[in-house]
């Protein structure tokens, strides 16, 4: 009798444990669905006025790879033997998992690899950590990754917590709808369900649309595309870059309207070691000048049209 009673209790406890511990995925991000007007981010006081595009100026010439200045954060990375890059794995063209070989690749990943190249002389000395969209600021701020390159818009609110590099891509928010939709802009989608990702600037902007569409939050943009293909949402809104990656995967989708916002992409780092930000800006400066940026664009983003001139660096 003893075994039976003990065991029954245990089984129940064990099984109860299973569900309590389980959370969504395989792509480890918290999952939430909210309906109704998107939550405006009013918990924090308005950030101080700033120019989000202006970053820290490079300090002189780049040190040669493998010889990072003593005491700098680059030296810490060099000693560790790899650069830890925070990004996503489902944003086709920018950072997505290649299903054929399991590698994460794209424009953003190459941005990170170019930093690794500058530190080690080897673009492969990089560890990719997938982070949730709503963890991009905190992961950079608390040092759990060295640098975040994840279609991340530089804005004043985020500048409070992290340092951004200079802008490496100028994106803008657009809307993706199905091929047979008659909508011309996001304002034609009143009452429709629009998906975006919690923690992204585009999600917050749905609440400002006058036609009052219904905002639906997902953990990642891949999940938005799944919801779109399962007819759970009528549209997806985010940066034109990300939408282009989705349209490539779904011939029944189209991207409509003009850019309804400016989304200047920059890499985010902790603001505790500004020398690293200056170093990253120096790398970007060099790559703009020597055609590396253009080559990277042509490698990944030719679907968006011919390569524009790279965004100009602005410094404080």
């Amino acid at each position: 009798m003893r075994i039976r009673a003990a065991v029954a209790l245990l089984a129940v406890a064990a099984l109860a444990g299973c569900s309590a511990d389980s959370s969504p995925m395989p792509i480890a991000k918290p999952f939430t669905t909210t309906l109704g007007p998107s939550p405006a981010t009013t918990e924090r006081p308005a950030p101080p006025k700033c120019d989000p595009r202006a970053s820290l100026a490079p300090a002189g010439a780049l040190p040669p790879p493998g010889k990072m200045p003593a005491g700098s954060y680059m030296e810490t990375i060099q000693k560790r033997g790899r650069l830890v890059l925070g990004t996503s794995q489902d944003t086709l063209l920018f950072s997505s998992r290649n299903p054929f070989n399991g590698q994460i690749e794209g424009f953003d990943v190459d941005m990170g690899r170019q930093i690794a190249q500058a530190i080690f002389g080897d673009p492969g000395k990089i560890q990719i950590k997938v982070i949730g969209y709503d963890k991009r600021v905190s992961s950079a701020a608390d040092g759990s990754v060295d640098i975040v390159a994840d279609t991340m818009t530089a804005n004043c609110e985020r500048w409070v917590d992290v340092d951004f590099s200079t802008i490496y891509y100028e994106a803008g928010q657009k809307v993706l709808v199905s091929k047979n939709s008659t909508a011309k802009t996001i304002e034609d989608l009143g009452g429709k369900r629009i998906c975006s990702v919690q923690g992204s600037t585009s999600f917050d902007r749905i609440a400002t649309v006058k036609a009052k569409p219904v905002a639906v939050a997902r953990a990642a943009f891949g999940d938005c595309l799944v919801a779109f293909q399962r007819n759970e949402v009528d549209a997806i809104t985010t940066d034109d870059t990300i939408l282009a990656g989705m349209a490539v995967q779904d011939p029944y989708a189209k991207v409509i309207g003009d850019k309804i916002s400016e989304e200047p992409y920059a890499m985010a780092m902790s603001n505790e070691h500004p020398e690293f930000t200056r170093f990253v800006n120096a790398v970007l400066e060099r790559n703009r000048a020597d055609g590396t940026w253009k080559k990277t664009y042509e490698k990944w983003l030719s679907a968006l049209g011919p390569a524009p001139t790279p965004p100009k660096a602005k410094y404080r």
Binding site: I3, L10, G17, D90, P99, V130
Partner: protein, 431 residues
């Protein structure tokens, strides 16, 4: 009229005890009534305990096994899908086969479970929700595969949607079904025990024996004959009846206790071990698939493996007391799981050290897979061992209950006839 008659009848019956023939008539009536009662109770006890026992063996316990199958098959499907994702490129055919097999097992077990649950109630709700949920789940995975086949990253997102459905909705429903089945097994033991009927039967037999003895004592005092042969025979038959009923029922209770303590109990424990082991393996794959370093799944792995390795837990328990062979099987499962936890430690060290590819290779590689599969094989074997034990014991527990159902009333009729014959002969003397 009825009101006027009843006190009259009572008074007449009450008046009987003042005369000798009256007392004899009272004895006849009491003995016949008690005999009929004992027969009826024996019939009810036998059929109630018999149907309870067979319900336990043929419905409640199989339902528990099926609920566990649904649960483990779903957990395994999730793990397999995540491992196939990790492998990259086309799914390895071994994983595809296992995944298909998992879904088939879940669907088959669910169909049988549906037959064994009543139309309404929590178990039925869980079965219905699981049926439609599994259909949706397999559709999602099929879409993920189709996309993966075309090299579209959205396939991975479909897979994560499927995994969410599995972990957050289907597995909790399977757990609910499992818990419901456990409750039904507990109730089943109660019904198979039929304590109420057994008590009534024993009381009526005791009263019958006492009345028979009292009737004989009365007769031997009132008449010259010390023994009344038919009454003596009736007493003998009643004694045989009582002893036979007691031995049949005690044997059944002992067998039920043994199936509960040595069958159902260990089975629940082995089931928990199997589910937890699969959960740990799934946590590992999901941590790697998430590619975000150690997170909530890794914490879950620690909790789960700690629970599994705990002394007197689901894996490390006094199984050898039940059956030396079972003990050996469970010891092999335990040491297999320990080596798997070691391999997992290496996987985590590689991943944390920045060698993601190496971590994936080790986690889904042949060696770690073999280690884990050995745990699973041993647990399956342990489960079969207890299932066989349960089936044998529950069959034996039902033995004799049919005899009680039929033989009890027959013996009761014989007792009644003998008692009536014995007392009527004395009553005749007063006419």
């Amino acid at each position: 009229m009825a009101l006027a008659t009843r006190p009259g009848v009572l008074r007449r019956v009450g008046g009987l005890r003042h005369t000798s023939p009256g007392r004899l008539q009272l004895f006849i009536a009491t003995l016949l009534a008690l005999g009929v009662l004992a027969g009826v109770f024996a019939g009810f006890t036998g059929s109630s305990a018999g149907s309870g026992t067979s319900d336990l063996g043929n419905r409640a316990q199989p339902l528990l096994v099926e609920a566990e199958t649904v649960y483990t098959a779903l957990a395994d499907a999730d793990t397999t899908a995540a491992q196939a994702f990790l492998a990259g490129g086309l799914e390895p055919s071994a994983l595809t086969r296992r995944y298909d097999d998992d879904l088939r097992r879940a669907a088959t077990a669910l169909t049988s479970a549906a037959r064994r649950t009543s139309q309404t109630g929590e178990a039925a709700d869980a079965v219905r929700a699981l049926s439609s949920g599994i259909a949706e789940y397999s559709a999602l995975v099929a879409t993920a595969r189709a996309n993966n086949r075309q090299g579209l990253p959205v396939g991975a997102s479909f897979l994560s949607e499927a995994s969410r459905l599995n972990r957050d909705t289907l597995q909790p429903q399977a757990r609910q079904l499992f818990e419901e089945a456990q409750r039904e097994v507990d109730d089943g033991y109660g019904r198979a025990g039929s304590v109420g009927w057994v008590a009534l039967l024993m009381l009526s037999l005791l009263a019958l024996l006492i009345t028979l003895v009292a009737a004989q004592v009365y007769l031997s005092r009132r008449t010259q004959r010390t023994f009344n042969v038919p009454l003596l025979a009736a007493t003998g038959v009643a004694l045989v009846f009582t002893i036979a009923a007691m031995s049949i029922l005690f044997t059944q209770q002992a067998r039920l206790d043994s199936t509960a303590n040595r069958g159902t109990g260990p089975m629940a424990s082995i089931a928990a071990a199997r589910i937890l082991a699969l959960q740990a393996r799934g946590d590992e794959a999901l941590t790697l698939a998430g590619r975000a370093g150690s997170g909530p799944y890794e914490q879950d792995f620690d909790t789960v493996s700690e629970r599994l390795l705990m002394p007197r837990g689901p894996m490390d328990n006094a199984y050898e007391d039940l059956d030396p062979q079972l003990g050996a099987t469970m010891n092999r499962a335990l040491s297999g799981f320990q080596s798997y936890v070691e391999a997992h430690g290496e996987v985590r060290a590689l991943d944390e050290g920045g060698n993601y590819e190496g971590a994936v290779k080790l986690a889904i590689g042949a060696e770690t897979t073999k280690t884990f599969e050995s745990v699973r094989t041993e647990l399956d074997r342990a489960m079969e061992n207890r299932k066989t034990f349960f089936t044998e014991e529950i069959d034996d527990a039902g033995d004799g209950l049919g005899l009680l159902t039929v033989g009890g009333p027959v013996l009761a009729v014989i007792i009644c006839v003998l008692a009536f014959l014995g007392l009527r002969a004395r009553l005749e003397e007063y006419r």
